[in-house]
């Protein structure tokens, strides 16, 4: 019985240590993952239902959520900026643009976004090729944001090592 008690005591200590180790990064991850999940879920649901009604409203709601999370300190500035850009670009390309009023803005923003995310130049502005290129870039940015969250602790460790003048792993 005593052994059993010691085992569970060890388990508790382990849980406490793990929980303490995650601290702030865990909060940022949790909020960031939830926001990314909302974005992916929106596309999944709209693709499966075939109805685009409310897509812009959903993107707007996600932007509001991101703003609230940023104000509450649940996500960091880097994630907020990049996530907001992802939402803005998505809203821009699905906006009902009567008379192609937004076309110059869309093109400039697309050119910048593609260059930053995939390193590509704009291959087309209309048609299947344009859709494919933008979709790939949006998916790539979602993956980039998830990887950013996944590696938050590693980043902090590297920053700390750099600030302390310790050699990084690249100097082995």
């Amino acid at each position: 019985m005593k052994r059993c008690g010691l085992f569970f005591l060890g388990l508790i200590v382990l849980a406490v240590v793990l929980a303490a180790g995650e601290d702030g990064a865990a909060d940022v991850k949790k909020a960031g993952y939830a926001l990314l999940d909302k974005y992916v879920a929106a596309f999944q649901e709209i693709a499966s239902s075939g109805s685009g009604a409310g897509l812009e409203n959903r993107l707007r709601a996600m932007a509001d959520d991101a703003k609230k999370a940023k104000d509450a300190g649940e996500i960091d500035r880097v994630f907020f900026t990049r996530y907001s850009r992802l939402l803005a670009l998505s809203a821009l390309v699905v906006a009902a643009d009567q008379g192609n009023l937004l076309a110059p803005v869309v093109e400039l923003e697309l050119a910048d976004f593609l260059k930053d995310v995939t390193g590509e130049d704009v291959v087309a502005l209309r048609g299947a090729e344009a859709v494919g290129q933008v979709a790939r870039a949006l998916a790539e940015e979602v993956i980039n944001l998830q990887l950013y969250l996944d590696t938050l602790e590693r980043r902090e460790a590297l920053k700390k090592a750099l600030s302390e003048g310790k050699p990084g792993p690249w100097k082995k």
Binding site: L11, A19, A26, Y33, Q44, A47, A96, A103, P104, Q146
Partner: protein, 182 residues
């Protein structure tokens, strides 16, 4: 003779043991032992000494704490978002994005044409198409420049420019004629 001494020793030891036994049993034999026995039977079995509260609560408390810690870890652990599916994004953009629309004549032209006299509608449509084509070329030009390419026009593009210019020319002629008539 020796044998007699041994027997005597044994008798002494036997007497000592018996005395010890008698002495030990003495208190139980005093008074009415039967009555005491019946009283004890009537009282029932002696209750087992209960464990102290801490002894009893320690293991369940440890188990509960361990379970709580595990639940807390599961709850607070950030759940990874569902994987992004490129096909979903392509599907949504393909259906609802302006990128998927073919580069047709602008909707503004048809809107303008609606409910107008034929000549005016034709003129406005021609002007709208010309303006739209001009805008599209202007939009493409800075993009090409930003990409570091020297704008060079193919034969098809030159024909488009020529065609566009003719539209403007024709539109201006119509306006000129209409102003003369007025």
């Amino acid at each position: 003779m020796k044998r007699t001494a041994d027997v005597r020793d044994l008798e002494v030891m036997d007497r000592l043991i018996r005395d010890e036994i008698e002495e030990a049993l003495g208190p139980f034999r005093a008074g009415d032992s039967e009555k005491r026995l019946r009283g004890r039977i009537a009282q029932g079995p002696e209750p087992v000494r209960s464990k102290r509260f801490l002894e009893r609560a320690a293991v369940p408390a440890l188990l509960a704490a361990a379970a709580g810690a595990v639940v807390l870890m599961v709850v607070t652990r950030p759940s990874v978002p569902r994987p992004v599916d490129l096909a979903d994004i392509v599907e949504v953009l393909g259906r609802f994005s302006t990128l998927a629309r073919p580069a047709a004549e602008p909707s503004a032209a048809t809107d303008l044409a609606a409910g107008r006299p034929e000549a005016t509608a034709g003129l406005e449509k021609a002007l709208a198409i010309a303006a739209w084509l001009k805008d599209e070329d202007e939009r493409k030009a800075p993009l090409r420049e930003s990409l570091g390419e020297v704008p060079s026009y193919s034969m098809e593009e030159r024909m488009r420019i020529l065609f566009k210019d003719k539209i403007i020319e024709r539109a201006l002629e119509i306006v000129k004629e209409k102003s003369k008539e007025a």
